[in-house]
């Protein structure tokens, strides 16, 4: 093998190794984010986003940049600390140089619900959601540059238009959706 051939193979190999490292780093980022979400460690989450990140979580509206995302997390912090379980699964990550896109499945298991005079422990209810995100390498570290999240089951999130469309399709409106993430 000539030096040129060896160098060409090394360049290709370097690219493949780097892509595998990037996928692993992005998985770590997103898994740590959801673990922080479960633990309500809001203060550790903002740095996981680029300064110009766009976040669109359920009914909360689109937020642009750190200041608005911090405001969103502040509102979520004020919603309390429910003892819910979170499962993140099925990552599919595609890396293109310094950007990437990723889709994940999310489950939240709830067990406490407000009743008159307190909280009632009831096991069983769960939600399934989808993350569709873009990530960007920012000074050598992968961060979220856009995060889109919606519930998809048992009651999918939807705006007024989506609800109308569902009703046209004859789908029933079932109570229970529309709670804070």
């Amino acid at each position: 093998m000539t030096d040129d051939e060896l160098e060409a193979q090394l360049v290709a190999l370097r690219s493949r190794v780097r892509m595998l490292e990037d996928v692993e780093s992005i998985k770590k980022l997103h898994r740590t984010y959801v673990r922080h979400l479960a633990d309500r460690q809001w203060d550790d989450m903002l740095v996981m986003f680029t300064s110009d990140a766009v976040v669109d979580l359920r009914h909360h509206g689109v937020r642009h940049g750190h200041a608005q995302i911090a405001e969103l997390f502040g509102a979520m912090r004020a919603a309390g600390n429910p003892p819910d379980g979170y499962v993140l699964s099925s990552p599919v990550i595609d890396v293109d140089a310094d950007t990437a896109i990723g889709a994940w499945t999310w489950h939240r298991h709830r067990c406490e619900f407000p009743v008159m005079g307190g909280q009632l422990r009831v096991f069983g209810p769960w939600w399934e959601g989808r993350y569709r995100c873009t990530y960007r390498r920012d000074e050598g570290r992968w961060k979220f540059s856009a995060m889109h999240f919606r519930l998809v089951a048992p009651d999918p999130d939807g705006g007024a238009d989506e609800t109308d469309t569902a009703q046209v399709r004859g789908e029933r409106a079932i109570g229970g959706a529309g709670h804070a993430i």
């Binding site: 060896l6 898994r31 673990r35 379980g85 009831v122």
Partner: protein, 173 residues
Amino acid sequence: MPSDDRGVRAELVAELGRLGARLRDLEAVVEIEDLHRGFTRAVADRQFDTLSGFFTADAAIDMRRHGEVHGRDAIKRHFDGMESVPLTGAGYLLSSPVVHVTGDSAAGEWTWHRFVADATVAGRPVRVWGVWEEGRYRCSYRRTEYGWRFSRLHFRVVRPDDDDSFSDRSDDE
């Protein structure tokens, strides 16, 4: 071979070595994830006699209310004791591994769920769907001649009732 060519060749060989090291770290993450998943599957299948084999000889474990246990022999006795704990109808889900490898050692954090379907009411078994617990593993791993093993395993249930504030429990992982 001219000296310039030898220099280029040496740099290419060095680069190959660096890529090999990065690939080795990526492989280590996969091997460690396999180790931990295999451990949890063995716990779920109640294969307690196999569990001590997942640990280094000098490993330490700190699981829930049991306190720290040091050394593989003591760990084996710990898991032998779990055989007497009747826990059926439980499903285990291990997710969100974050593993950092540094040479021949590593640190990892995982989320754990147990879904319980059997309860006892007035001494009789009752099938109850929906009950779950969420836990956290924080572990250290070490590469041995037999592959990666746990050198330290820390585990706590964190939700809906965390171990540290709800210590009067009779069940186990």
